[in-house]
Amino acid sequence: MTFHLEPRTVTPRWLSPLVTVGAVAVALVISGGIIGLVGGDPVRSYAHILEASFGSVGVLSDTLVKATPLILTGLACALAFRMRLWNIGAEGQFLLGAWGASAVVLFPLVPAGTPGIVLIPLMMIAGMLAGGIWGLIPGVLRARLGVNEIIVTLMLNYIALAWIQFWVFGPWSEGGFQQTHPFPPEAALPRLADFASIVPGFAGLTVHLGLVFGLVAAGLLWLFLERSRFGYEIRLIGDSPRAATYAGIDIKRRLIIVFAISGALAGLAGMSEVNGAVHRLQDHISPGYGFTAVIVAYLAKFRPGRVVVAAILFGALILAGREIQPSGVPAMIQGIILFTLIVSDVLVRYQVRVTRGGRGPTVPATPAASPSAGSAGGG
């Protein structure tokens, strides 16, 4: 028995979302099987994840706190991937963003007692600047010297972590512990709980202003990608670099700019995390947000709106996964989901025809078929 893949001429609108949901479901079944094999109880694990992440308003709020950095880093990856730039460095750009924001209050770059209305925007700028510069490095190397951006962004993640560790163990260490002094209260992003005196129901809710940053960024990125000339050019480069070159688009310039914006988005995620959730810099500030972001972007098919949804799902997994044993389960589920997603893409792009025995019909020549359009999920 052999099977053949034939490119679909028409793709029904319902097919892609259905297959995506199906892929996630299959991934959860496979993961459940593995959890069972290593002696866990998959049903209880999943029930626990649901309960601990969506079970009450309080935990839903915590889920959104975990989703916030994932939205911003997910957008960073989605933007770069849309141009088929493999920025796997959101983790490092996130860390640099957290560092840049911290630098404003820890060097300090501003006098003590600076009001939040001034301080918070300054820290946002510092975080985006630091993340953007970290993103600029692989962008410039790729554009000017043709250096593979995957290797460079990955290596920069390790370097960024060592950089953070230097500061939190060294100059900024609080009494030798691997964390800095807490930030001044003016630097804290407002939380829903801060308004409990007005709306009593907000008491104890940890959702902070960073979520708004994420939602606004998603909206802006959608406008940018779908409604601007620059965004159109980026999508064109992603779908068909050759066509973009013929159209006279300066790909190298776009590449550097996209990398810088991508880095700045991840940097903003880092700032939002230290200012909104942690209130100080630590070496273990990220449970791998920048890596999960790759999967978030892919699950969202690089669309900003869907990034928000995917980020909330993975935020739940990260939040609830902390208590699941064995500890590698959330990472494993993420890997399996990414695999089933890319396999499921095949079902969207091609019709699978199974033939019994012998050689089936040969794949017809399709000169117009663009191999890159499919993986990018269409326009």
Binding site: I34, L145, V147, G170, G328, A331, V343, V346, T362
Partner: protein
């Protein structure tokens, strides 16, 4: 510190990078980029360690590690070659999957000890002056396997008929197909070979070089370093060996810096416990960025670069890209 000991230790740690890099060279020469090396190495490392622990025989562990590495390679091969998925994304997925699964399987293995693979000395060669005791004495048997693999891989790729076919499917798959060479079959085969070698590289860590299971830290980015080395080596096993051993030999010197109290009369800022040691930890990764830049530049200048069809799925009947 004894220079000979440093070089001997460098050869052992270099063997890890060597296996992974040569495996990746096979896959990339066939036209398939596999970014899953880190994940395959972690799976090899945890499989080798845990199977050795449960059977008491490190050879079983080694075999199981290679098998699991090969299965991971097969997964990547089927997904990218048969199902034509994007090689970059599939490779990343392989790394995520390998990392997560290795952590699940490695639960409870930390702080345990298993039998190591034997260390041996090569008769006659070990008696050579200077070189003998450093290179051919008391090394893990896998180090010698590495010595043998380099010329073998070079000879296979550049001097044999199957090697010619390997290069053909990586450079011009349509032409190879027209010659009757099974493009899909060969690509799949070499991706599996790459996986087996990555699994071997992982087991080399846990069964020979630095025995023990330390979660993701066991491999700690060396899969990515191996992929960087392939670019540096311009897809040549000989240069990959040079890069792997050089890289591994430099690292202990850098760590050795931590041992001296003063450098040129100035108090050493890199003493253990000082935060400046984190700058030393950056060096291997900076080194990789450096060699990748150099590799890209020289490849561009000398017009020898990646296999022409690297990263491009082959579809019979579709126009060449």
């Amino acid at each position: 510190m004894d220079l000979g000991l440093i070089v001997a230790a460098g050869l052992a740690t270099g063997t890890v990078l060597l296996f992974a890099a040569i495996g990746e060279i096979f896959a990339e020469r066939a036209g398939v980029l596999n970014l899953g090396v880190e994940g395959m190495m972690l799976m090899g490392a945890v499989t080798g360690f845990s199977v050795t622990g449960s059977t008491g025989n490190p050879w079983f562990g080694l075999g199981a590690a290679m098998l699991v590495g090969g299965l991971f390679g097969l997964l990547h091969g089927v997904v990218t070659i048969r199902l034509r998925a994007d090689q970059v994304v599939s490779g990343l997925a392989l790394t995520f999957l390998g990392t997560g699964l290795a952590r699940v399987l490695g639960e409870g293995l930390t702080n345990t000890n298993v039998e190591r693979l034997p260390t041996i000395s090569i008769p006659v060669l070990a008696d050579l002056p200077i070189v003998g005791p450093i290179v051919f004495a008391n090394q893990s048997v896998l180090v010698y396997v590495g010595f043998g693999l380099v010329p073998l891989a070079w000879f296979w790729i550049t001097r044999t008929r199957p090697g010619l076919h390997l290069r053909a499917v990586g450079e011009a798959p349509a032409a190879a197909d027209a010659q009757g060479i099974g493009v899909y079959r060969l690509r799949l085969g070499y991706v599996v070979v790459g996986g087996i070698l990555a699994g071997l590289a992982g087991a080399t860590i846990t069964l020979a070089v630095s025995p023990g299971w330390f979660g993701d830290q066991t491999v700690n980015g060396r899969g990515w370093i191996a992929i960087g080395l392939v670019i540096f080596a311009r897809w040549s096993p000989i240069w990959a060996a040079f890069g792997a051993y050089l890289f591994a030999a430099i690292s202990p010197f850098i760590l050795g810096l931590q041992g001296v109290p003063t450098i040129l009369g100035v108090e050493n800022p890199f003493l253990p416990g000082r935060s400046a040691t984190f700058f030393l930890e950056m060096l291997p990764y900076l080194f990789v960025i450096g060699v990748v830049i150099l590799g890209s530049r020289s490849a561009a200048r000398r017009r020898i670069g990646a296999p022409a069809a690297l990263g491009i799925p082959y579809v019979r009947g579709e126009r060449g890209h």
